[in-house]
């Protein structure tokens, strides 16, 4: 079979499985629809969180991104994993004890205010929407790259699949498909990594290969020789302050992302919430510790295959021709000497590598069978679909549960609420698909929004709601608003080139911190404002203090009276 036929077969098989699960897990009530009936086992929830978390970008682009950033790539590695420690220790167990359906549920109830609820719901929708656009695009790109179909057709196919299992199965359908999707994506990621690690270091475990071989050192020296950045040296691409701020902003932002938080409502008890956070990070760490190793190995291998080699000879390598065709790899003999040279100068550099190639070309570089290449395509699709479905549910529940039911129609019947939930997911799929087909020009930039806003708005409000009994409605609302407005304004001003089309950035940085890291300042502002306002306004009512005490203790209070 050709690679394409294999890819198509494998993609169809995985899609059939996802659809089957959607049908198998079809739900009839809101508890199952929004939180999978609260009966997902901790390990399965961990896998689902991991699949939810790792998007098409984590799967396809991250290893490449790190290999270009070198040491500074740590912003993504630590930033996107460290947040789980905050989640596990500070938020997950208490939100599970609180035990409703959404993030705005908690904020609205804890701060006895529908205004706070509405702000949280809108923040949820906005954060999830900016994130989901990229996922649908990712589905289209994987389709077009591996199966040569139009990006638009790819997006439509992705929409149909997600709509099927999400509308029918709600959170339950999404969770179980995510569990399967996790295994598809991790196997697809690890096999090529193990192969290239074995080839270069003699050790099939990429994590060990990275530590115990000298490939990283060699790559670092090679890059210095070529006039590129020293790979192992910190702060070559970003200032130390920015590396710190971006890492911390991504950590706090991760802990405040609604589509991740709501997954902790789906387990059966507080204990499972704590354990499932651990499992989630194990599953995530498998990919996140493999990625820096692939980044080093693949880059070393690429530079060695190309540098000072005759261009005609290089072009005879089968995968080179293929990736040159896609435009992700550009070889140009600019000085006409017949060999290829890497330099750090655009005018003389003869090899241009798109960062996505690091992961996408690894199976071919390592001479793996076409089956593995097909598996990588299925893995990329699994990563994009699983993240998209989690985000769609977060958006749909914010509209149908928080806005429609909790604020506008508290008397809605169970049946109406379920119907609205289904319609909202369907609508969200259409919106996401629209952005997938017509991506806003700044789609890459808006991810900074998602993390920055989550860090500056939701995380502090939830954290204070649990750990500061004195925190009241006024403090929380003013805190959220000031954090949100500050962060939003800063990102808009710093990314004005992409968003408003201005000639230059209106402001370059805030005290040296860039748009990706600004969420940290937003979060600090939120904390400070919340504290000051709450201490100068009325204490929260008695029943709220009781509620806070109740969520701090796993045991249900009514049954604890002996």
């Amino acid at each position: 079979m050709t690679v394409e036929a294999l890819t198509l077969t494998l993609v169809l098989i995985t899609f059939a499985i996802y659809i089957y699960i959607g049908w198998w897990s079809k739900v009839k009530d809101t508890s199952n629809f929004f939180v999978a009936g609260k009966e997902i086992p901790a390990v399965a929830n961990g896998a689902a969180i991991a699949a939810d978390w790792m998007s098409a970008a984590s799967f396809i682009s991250m290893a490449g991104l790190i290999s270009f950033l070198g040491y500074d790539g740590t912003i993504y590695l630590m930033g996107w994993t460290g947040g789980y420690v905050l989640l596990a220790l500070l938020l997950a167990p208490y939100l599970r004890k609180f035990g409703r359906y959404t993030v705005p549920d908690f904020i609205g109830d804890r701060y006895y205010s529908n205004g706070a609820r509405a702000v949280a719901a809108i923040a949820t929708i906005f954060i999830s929407l900016t994130y989901v656009a990229g996922q649908m695009r990712g589905v289209g790109i994987v389709f077009s790259r591996y199966l040569q179909v139009d990006i638009m057709v790819g997006v439509f196919i992705g929409m149909a699949i997600v709509a099927f299992f999400a509308v029918l199965g709600g959170m339950k359908g999404i969770t179980w498909t995510q569990v399967i999707q996790y295994f598809v994506l991790i196997i697809a990621f690890i096999i090529p990594a193990a192969a290239i690690s074995l080839k270069l270091t003699g050790n099939p475990v990429p994590q060990l290969g990275l530590v115990f071989s000298d490939i990283a050192k060699q790559l670092s020296d090679l890059q210095v020789q070529l006039g590129l950045n020293e790979y192992l040296k910190p702060f070559q691409n970003l200032s130390g302050l920015n590396v710190f701020a971006v890492t911390l902003a991504l950590m706090i932002g991760t802990a405040g992302l609604p589509h991740v938080i709501i997954r902790f409502y789906t387990v059966k008890d507080v204990r499972s919430a704590r354990w499932s956070a651990g499992w989630a990070l194990v599953f995530i760490a498998l990919l996140y510790t493999t990625a820096p190793a692939i980044g080093v190995f693949a880059k070393y291998n690429l530079i060695n295959s190309f540098n000072n080699e005759p261009i005609d000879q290089v072009r005879e390598i089968s995968w080179v021709a293929k990736w040159e065709e896609t435009g992700l790899l550009k070889l140009e003999d600019k000085n006409g000497d017949g060999t290829l040279n890497f330099t750090n100068n655009n005018d003389t550099n003869e090899v241009t590598i798109d960062r996505d190639i690091i992961v996408l070309s690894t199976p071919e570089v390592a001479n793996l069978s076409p089956f593995i290449i097909a598996l990588v395509a299925a893995g990329g699709l699994a990563a994009a679909l699983s993240t998209a479905s989690g985000l769609l549910l977060a958006m749909s529940s914010a509209v149908s549960h928080d806005l429609y039911y909790r604020i506008f129609r508290p008397d809605a019947s169970e049946k109406q609420r379920l119907a609205v939930g289904r319609w909202m997911i369907f609508l969200a799929v259409i919106v996401a698909g629209y952005f997938g087909i017509n991506p806003p020009g700044f789609v890459g930039e808006v991810v900074a929004f998602a993390f920055g806003l989550a860090a500056a708005s939701l995380f502090p409000a939830i954290f204070l709601g649990i750990f500061d009994k004195r925190m009241n409605r006024e403090g929380a609302i003013w805190g959220i608003l000031s954090g949100l407005i500050f962060t939003l304004t800063m990102i808009l001003l710093m990314r004005s080139v992409q968003i408003f089309g201005t000639e230059t950035q209106i402001i370059e940085s805030f005290l040296g911190i860039n748009a990706q890291g600004i969420g940290v300042i937003g979060a600090i502002i939120n904390f400070v404002v919340s504290f000051i306002v709450s201490r100068n306004t009325q204490e929260p009512p008695e029943e709220i203090s009781k509620m806070v005490e109740d969520i701090r203790i796993p045991k249900v209070v009514e049954t604890s009276e002996k």
Partner: protein, 103 residues
């Protein structure tokens, strides 16, 4: 009233132990990530860890591994603490289902 008082005292103690555990673990969390990988990035670059500089190892691998250990350690410790203070959650399927519906 006495029973309730005693219960409250116990719960307070449980909460304080929980907070102490959280703070301790977050200090480690900070030390292995932001501190060792970023603040100390330059000085620790000269300290080797097998074939990598120590700070690079923390920044791109070590911190993540320690994060996993921290979460599991917390879960394990809290299981013990729940047991010790008799605050383990009792699963009442009926009740948890209802909790989401009434409001």
């Amino acid at each position: 009233m006495d029973v309730n008082q005693e219960l409250n005292e116990k719960q307070k103690e449980y909460w304080q132990k929980n907070i102490r555990l959280i703070v301790g673990l977050l200090v480690i969390w900070f030390l292995v990530s932001l501190f060792a990988g970023i603040i100390m990035a330059v000085p620790l670059s000269n300290v080797p860890f097998f074939n990598l500089p120590l700070s690079f190892w923390f920044a791109q691998q070590g911190s993540i591994i320690i994060f996993v250990i921290l979460i599991f350690y917390y879960a394990k410790k809290m299981d013990q603490l729940d047991e010790q203070y008799d605050v383990k959650e009792v699963i009442l399927t009926e009740q948890t289902d209802k909790k989401g519906d009434d409001s």
